[in-house]
């Protein structure tokens, strides 16, 4: 079933703030095996010009994906979320995410396409800090694979 094209351009209200903690950054850096001191040592981060430890580039996905999932699970959109796989991911950074940030995500459906029975939805998430500054924009392409013929 083709998805409702009227959802293209729809923007969802900002999410509640996600507070970035030093220990959460450390946990993420350890999970990806990345020993860069800028992720765990405030002095090392400061020596690079950052006011506190910064997060690895893909850390913010945990925040933006939660918002994107709310969007694609909108029952009115009608996407079969159980068949969804991650197609593409892109980030554009104004500055790195850092400890102490309180981040909100505003998600917009950019495009909806159907290709060979697959439903493809592109969601843009704009991540702002407490002062309203844009920190990072995340683009997530989700593909709901065609259901097998019954």
């Amino acid at each position: 079933m083709a998805l409702d094209q009227s959802f293209v351009g729809r923007t969802y209200p900002p999410t509640p703030a996600y507070e970035v903690g030093r220990e959460k950054i450390r946990e993420f850096a350890e999970a990806v095996g990345d020993a860069n001191p800028a992720y765990v040592d405030p002095e090392a981060a400061e020596a690079l010009g950052h006011p506190d430890v910064i997060a690895p580039p893909t850390f913010v996905f945990s925040v933006t994906f939660k918002a994107a999932r709310m969007v694609v699970q909108d029952p009115q959109l009608g996407l079969d979320y159980s068949r969804v796989v991650h197609g593409d991911q892109k980030f554009a950074y104004t500055r790195p995410v850092r400890a102490g940030d309180r981040l909100t995500v505003t998600s917009t459906i950019e495009t909806i396409k159907s290709l060979a029975g697959n439903d493809i939805v592109d969601v843009r998430g704009e991540v702002h800090d407490e002062s309203g500054e844009l920190v990072v924009t995340a683009w997530t392409k989700l593909v709901a694979r065609a259901a097998e013929e019954a």
Binding site: A31, N36, Y39, L48, P56, T58, K90
Partner: protein
């Protein structure tokens, strides 16, 4: 931002040091916890096979996180990354043994841009297959 590589020291074709990133089932459990992505295809073999996968597969975002390390280890300051995007082309299949799988990542400077920016194109393979496509980062050099 304080990148450790000078813009003037690189040219199109400059290769970044390649790296190999191991990934076992334990790695995936740890990543699931740290990222909050508990999709069972990343830890439950039975579930993975039921949905048509050959075995448990790594989180695409885990592979994306590893690949950019070739860039951040090269420049030193991860805050120098201005843009980063990938396409998930093939899954990284992680068998249930001590060795697991590995992701091999190489990168090279593909374009010199304005404002001390360069574009780095990354190649990521696992078991001989390309697992990321269109994997590109824009980085600000010193």
């Amino acid at each position: 931002m304080t990148a450790g590589i000078a813009y003037g020291s690189v040219e199109v074709g400059t290769e970044l040091p390649a790296q190999s990133f191991p990934v076992t089932r334990a790695t995936l459990v740890q990543y699931a916890g740290a990222s909050g992505d508990f999709n069972p295809i990343h830890w439950n073999e039975k579930f993975a096979r039921e949905v048509g996968l050959p075995d448990v597969i790594a989180h695409g975002m885990f592979t994306m996180a590893e690949a950019i390390r070739v860039v951040t280890d090269w420049v030193g300051d991860p805050g120098a990354v201005v843009e980063y995007g990938v396409r998930f082309t093939k899954p990284v299949v992680v068998p249930n043994d001590e060795t697991g799988a590995s992701v091999e990542v190489s990168g090279k400077v593909a374009a010199l841009l304005d404002d001390n920016l360069v574009r780095v194109d990354l190649t990521a393979t696992s078991d001989g297959k390309k697992v990321l496509g269109m994997s590109r980062a824009v980085v600000r050099l010193a």
